[in-house]
Symmetry: C2
DNA sequence: GGGAAATGTTGCGTATACATTACAAATAAC
DNA sequence: GTTATTTGTAATGTATACGCAACATTTCCC
């Protein structure tokens, strides 16, 4: 049980260390590590709404919007209007954005390799499974909270 | 090898989800999840320099200072002068800060438990080991970079 | 179809992460 | 001992993370 006490800080240090290492690489190419995450999301499936990006990038609407505004200013993405939904926007990579993403995806390969240095194939798979389960556990907490808060608000409104 | 490609985003989503869940809890008690990390560092060993906290909290000097200024403003920590080193400061928990930390440590226990829900004792240990190795791998990248940059700067200076 | 609820986005405010620069004190080099 | 280097902190600026409220549009329900 003492183990559980140290876990959050270890997850924190692992993530922040990875982020620093990534950022050090991407910054030399003009973007941030977080912006690269967005480009990668758009590289997988283009022409999605900002809301989709919120899910894919595990972020929130305000942050996604701010990042997209910056990326649009650099000519890497375009935020068009959704044809069927007047509220939504459709985000696409520009050709410049796609070229940058594909180049950075290649040049960042060594980072991903070194990050998992010493991990066997099996260990990597176990780790990925663990991280998925952790994400689900954590998301269950916040969505339950939101759900109950929503239920409360609805209840109060009646 | 395709596994490695998905890993960074999974680590990102796991950390951010944990951070959101934690923050939702601590915010209701007046502090942020990150501030709690600092209190926890001070709870383990009091009267340390800001530089020590940089190491323990896996952060950087600017961030630590900004957080400490806020915590000091709320009367949770005191930043005194180091007796032997005129540059350094010695940070301590106030009694108010210690009481808050101990209370929040107890009330946040369910979060840590739920986060690891479904993980066996053995799995938790494996996970902790993995996170430690990841942190080392990532830190090795940035410190090597800094070391080489330093070597370069020194070289250029001569 | 008209009002209520839900949804996608935007704007604003605060806290973090971090680079960079500046500054003062301590340490090393000679 | 004086200079050069290192080191702890401070100050500034940009980018993120996120809560919250405002807004417009869409969907739901009757």
């Amino acid at each position: 049980m003492d183990r559980a006490g140290k876990f959050p800080r270890l997850l924190r240090s692992a993530y922040l260390a990875m982020h620093r290492a990534s950022d050090a690489h991407f910054t030399r190419h003009g973007i941030t590590a977080d912006q690269f995450v967005l480009l990668a999301c758009l590289g997988e499936q283009d022409a999605v709404t900002q809301q989709d990006l919120v899910q894919r990038a595990a972020s929130d609407p305000s942050t996604i919007r701010a990042m997209l505004v910056l990326l649009e200013g650099r000519g890497l993405v375009i935020r068009g209007r959704h044809p069927d939904d007047g509220r939504a926007r459709v985000v696409r990579l520009t050709s410049k954005g796609r070229r940058l993403f594909e180049r950075l995806w290649r040049t960042s390969e060594p980072i991903r390799v070194r990050l998992l240095a010493g991990f066997s194939e099996q260990e990597s798979n176990v780790l990925l499974g663990f991280l998925g389960r952790l994400t689900e556990n954590a998301n269950a907490m916040v969505s339950r909270r939101r759900a109950s808060r929503h239920a409360l608000a609805t209840q109060e409104a009646t």
